[in-house]
Symmetry: C2
Subunit: 220 residues, 2 copies
């Protein structure tokens, strides 16, 4: 009997969802809230994470799982410099994190007393959207230089997420970016989604983002 490609894909996704549920139960039992961050390569995931940690610590204790397609520790090293527990997952060329990889990441981290676990997914606007990891909420980071048409061209990633960051606002003076057109695209896919215009360079917009993010802990 030949197994079809579609059936294999369905089996993989349902196995993934089962492990994602296990991950979430494990995190719940430790009182850890988990945020999955997705974005294009170079949208500024690591920069937003670093600045977010600087705002939240020492009031909140944070841990980070870094997803990378290669065994380089550039991002993990930067996070580690902030004295935050971090583990790196090398997907060995794979285009997204899955729940099994995150399960191993969780096992490698000492999460006792941690309030927020941040997962930095692989830089990709397509594949990560299909794989739940056990996170409590999902955030996508868009960036000004990527262009205002991304919601129209990569709609899948913006659906079902809980907040959107629009990063690199400091570049607005130098780039033709129609914020109205961008937000119209986002609203059509995800009406009412909280959206934060930020700059990691100038710090603009971080107060509202940190307020929204902190509220996610209070809710738990």
């Amino acid at each position: 009997m030949q197994t079809s490609k579609v059936q294999i894909v369905e089996n993989i996704l349902s196995a993934n969802d089962r492990i994602a549920e296990e991950n979430q139960k494990a995190l719940n039992s430790l009182g850890v809230t988990c945020m999955n961050i997705m974005a294009s390569p170079g949208a500024g995931k690591t920069s937003v994470i670093l600045k977010t940690i600087q705002h939240l610590a020492p009031k909140f204790r944070i841990a980070v799982i870094e997803g990378d397609t290669a065994p380089v520790t550039i991002d993990a090293d930067k996070v580690s410099e902030l004295d935050v527990p971090v583990t790196q997952i090398n997907t060995a060329g794979n285009c997204h994190l899955d729940a099994m990889m995150v399960q191993k990441g969780i096992q490698h981290l000492d999460l006792q007393g941690i309030d927020l676990l941040i997962i930095e997914n692989v830089g990709n606007l397509v594949c990560p959207a299909s794989f739940r990891l056990g996170e409590h909420f999902n955030v996508v980071i868009a960036s000004i230089p990527e262009g205002d048409d991304k919601p129209y061209k990569y709609p899948g990633i913006y659906q079902g997420i809980d907040a959107l960051i629009l990063n690199k606002s400091d570049l607005l003076p130098y780039i033709d970016f129609n914020q109205k057109y961008f937000r119209m695209g986002i609203q059509a896919l995800n009406p009412g989604i909280p959206t934060f215009l930020l700059s990691c360079k100038t710090g603009e917009g971080f107060d509202s983002w940190i307020e929204w993010l902190s509220d996610r802990f209070a809710e738990k």
Copy 2:
């Protein structure tokens, strides 16, 4: 008997390569040279394609296949305005083009008298690298705002390509981008690769890029 995931993936890739060969034979019989362009979302694939067409036409006749994850025709419309034959492939959420999709694209285009067929792949720095389409050469577009660490973090896409464009040079004054570090990463992955620092906004660097590209026709 259960078919393993690995075996299915191998079967898909080898079927893909067979069709990619057929595509290349079909293009050769028509005297068409084919370039596959890969990049992150928002690196400027469409802008580079539009400006390249403006430089090459009317001396050369060009056709374009646009790969998109959604049925929006934003990019295809822009190309079409330049009076260039264009067909759009909607991958329906899939993260890359494959040879079968391109085969259908080729069948939809009238390629008689066409010198260069440009394929704009889906915006993704991971998956497109694994799928040959029938192209004669591959170009990756990196961009200044993506950051200088991309060759280290997404090495797979830079290997085995024929040229690299570093786009959005007009943003260099506003972004910390270490060109030496970037080029060192590229050279380690792909020694001696022709690299073109461009700006679609100012036109900087297009002359050398167009010269290199035109030579690809002369070679045929």
